[in-house]
Symmetry: C2
Subunit: 419 residues, 2 copies
DNA sequence: ACCTTATGCTCGTAGGACGAGCATATTAGG
DNA sequence: CCTAATATGCTCGTCCTACGAGCATAAGGT
């Protein structure tokens, strides 16, 4: 039956182990060849064959590894200087980011630009220029473009981006007429993927990632893959009715959790009018609560050092932060009861709210857990990538695509035809 | 490296296609050999080889298929009369069920018994006798025991079964000293698996199953596999705080959805005292609301015929049912926003509440959906298996186990050693 | 009786995985 | 400085799955 060259069991299985090797290289960048063989349980003969094949395919190169003890020295596996790359893009409210990713998952040339205009056409034209620049520089090595967007995705289309003020916008213009696949993902989803693959949740099989900015977004990941639902629209944690049913959400429903945990909630607690820019307003309230000049996002979220003084700030702001942090902890507890994750990673305002709020968050979290989770509550930790999560997640999306079994077969055919 | 006989790439791949064949046989019981080859894209030579191997392994037999037109007649694939089986058990509040399942997924000898006593020891001893009986009858053909239990599972242990009045009970006694694996699953989770594999959600990639009895349980399934979380404790939909925060749940939290959608909610709306048996109380209120003698669970839920008259019942009961159905529809909408499923299947009281409530459910469901889901709202349908879901799901769990690649290798070794 | 159609079987070939044996490159220790 | 110990890499023969082509088989249709 399988006359089709890239179908059937044999053609798929051919690249199976090669894809595993590349996945391992991505999980442990700079892994040695010997360690890789151990990790995957490859016999040395098979390792020889597969590495040679991947070298011939310009997917990786070997460099002498630093010697550690006795025994024949091994080599470090690195992406090939003429190997395939993807362009990762992340589109947010006030700026966009771009980076080129190699098969080991490293980002090169990360850039960040503010939108000169927020008009869809202007933004898409800018992104398109980034694609063209990458094509000029990398030529046929560029194999895919992946785009993290702060908006709602449905069946691979952007249907709404509230923070950008966009409705449905056709993003395909970013890669039109390039023959490059354009891979689309929600930014909170992709940030969760980044945490699960290379960030704070690498050891977790099931992880929940939540990001608080204007409202709450996030995703559940299972073994590094996001639970995206039938149309890619899953992850609307902010519109769960965990909040006060008297409050009406712009989404049309009542009692959305969104309204209880972001800048709008802080304003309500402070008796101030609804903020125009809920995100910077929230940072400002957090600043007032600490009395510190600028509590902003951690420059390096991996270091937990900068704990601002809890005293010295504005008591009203502190009470507002406490209330919002409690609503956050309470909701997270409900989601832990629901999903039973190994770990929860928090992004956006989350870590700062928690830090400034003192015990309010932890108390609410503990109180909301069902008894089965009390003995070993899943840790709630700050996201490792911070604001860079969506870009890293987009890179993961693109690399998953180009190192999948079918894309490897394509790349091999591409090389054969180029010679 | 792989000196271990049942590890490594080759040993796993060996059974890969054979496992696919058995999975297909289970998805389409009574499939013909020719249709199977088409379905999996097997060449006729490979089909010959694999079917022959599975025949030799006593996993399936072939019988002449009814002739439909021209061409050489093909055969129907059936489980082998000496092939492996699993014993599926389902443990509920007032009764337990048992059935033996063959590799094509059919249940033979389904039985149902009431608990003579609800003491854990007595119940476990009864289940153990069912295991012994199956062992007597099937001998070495019995390869696993799977158990669906109406309680909370954590790390493969039962930590609580509220409806049975049990705390943590060690269920391993059911299969102790038999060398049979005991596979454990929550009953709502397994009912969802049954719906996704062979019930109302077979065509759905992502499906949400919810069952309303005392509270709400359920599971999300992705391609037929349940999302069970890190410890198998996921699916506590009933303890999401969708309800009135003024109400305290026995779980310790406030506002649990549970309290808004079951018999306890009906009693509150009617101003009656909290019922002792919330489930039969709920059926009784539904009966009062219809005026019909007995609205009970559908005898055949696949036929949507028995729509009771909405008029003629007790108006107060109808209003209570309306309110509860609305709370159900509202919560389901929130979960659709969250998970983006293709389909929602409803079990337990759900279908009856919805049928009796008239538009209250559908209105609340529609009103709670986010706009992205409005164009094509996921259908909410009655579960196909009704009360038999957990038993069928347990059978799926067991059959997945014995038709997995490693278990097939074991079975082959077992046969070799028995000769 | 033929042809048509659908299916099943045999056999030669390709290619991945495996294991054994040998080759190689380094350190540790005398 | 030489040798043993150690870790790693390569080659090759074998096994097994998958594939494709050609042929065989068993029906219906004419």
């Amino acid at each position: 039956m399988p006359r089709n060259p890239d179908q059937g069991r044999a053609a798929t299985l051919r690249w199976h182990t090669a894809a595993q090797v590349l996945a391992t290289l991505r999980r442990v960048p700079g892994i040695t060849r010997a360690a890789l063989a151990r990790e995957l349980g490859l016999t040395s003969g098979l390792a020889t064959e597969i590495v040679a094949r991947l070298r011939d395919l310009r997917l990786l190169t070997e460099a002498p590894a630093p010697v550690v003890g006795r025994g024949r020295p091994t080599t470090v596996l690195r992406p090939h200087p003429e190997g395939p790359v993807v362009l990762a893009l992340a589109l947010r409210q006030e700026d966009w980011r771009a980076a080129v990713a190699t098969v080991d998952g490293r980002l090169i040339e990360p850039r960040r630009r503010r939108h000169p205009s927020r008009e869809p056409d202007a933004v898409l034209a800018t992104l398109r220029r980034a694609v063209d620049r990458a094509r000029d520089r990398y030529g046929h090595r560029l194999r895919a473009v992946s785009l993290a967007v702060a908006g709602a995705i449905y069946d691979d289309h952007l249907v709404q981006a509230a923070t950008l003020g966009w409705g449905a916008v056709d993003l395909r213009a970013v890669a039109r007429d390039t023959s490059l696949p354009l891979l689309l993902g929600n930014d909170a989803t992709l940030a969760g993927v980044a945490e699960a693959r290379a960030g704070a949740a690498t050891t977790a099989g099931t992880a929940l990632h939540l990001i608080v900015e204007v409202g709450v977004g996030g995703t559940l990941t299972i073994d590094g893959r996001p639970v995206t639902g039938a149309h890619g629209a899953a992850g609307e944690y902010g519109h769960l009715p965990f909040g006060d049913r008297a409050l009406r959400c712009p989404c049309g429903a009542r009692g959305c959790w969104d309204l209880a945990v972001d800048g709008r909630a802080l304003a309500r607690h402070l008796g101030e009018p609804p903020p125009v820019d809920a995100l910077s307003y929230a940072w400002e309230v957090i600043r007032r609560a600490t009395g510190a000049p600028h509590p902003g996002p951690d420059p390096d979220p991996r270091s937990g050092r900068r704990v601002p003084a809890r005293d010295g700030g504005d008591p009203a702001a502190r009470r507002a932060v406490d209330a919002v942090a409690a609503a956050l902890g309470d909701g997270i507890a409900a989601l832990v009861n629901l999903h039973d994750p190994d770990l929860v990673t928090l992004g956006g305002l989350g870590p700062a709210l928690r830090r400034v709020a003192g015990p309010a968050f932890d108390d609410a979290y503990a109180a909301g857990l069902m008894s089965v989770h009390r003995a070993q509550p899943p840790p709630v930790v700050a996201a490792a990538f911070g604001d860079e999560g969506p870009l890293h997640g987009a890179a993961v999306l693109g690399l998953d695509h180009i190192t999948g079994e079918s894309a490897l077969a394509e790349w091999a055919a591409h090389l054969r035809s180029a010679d």
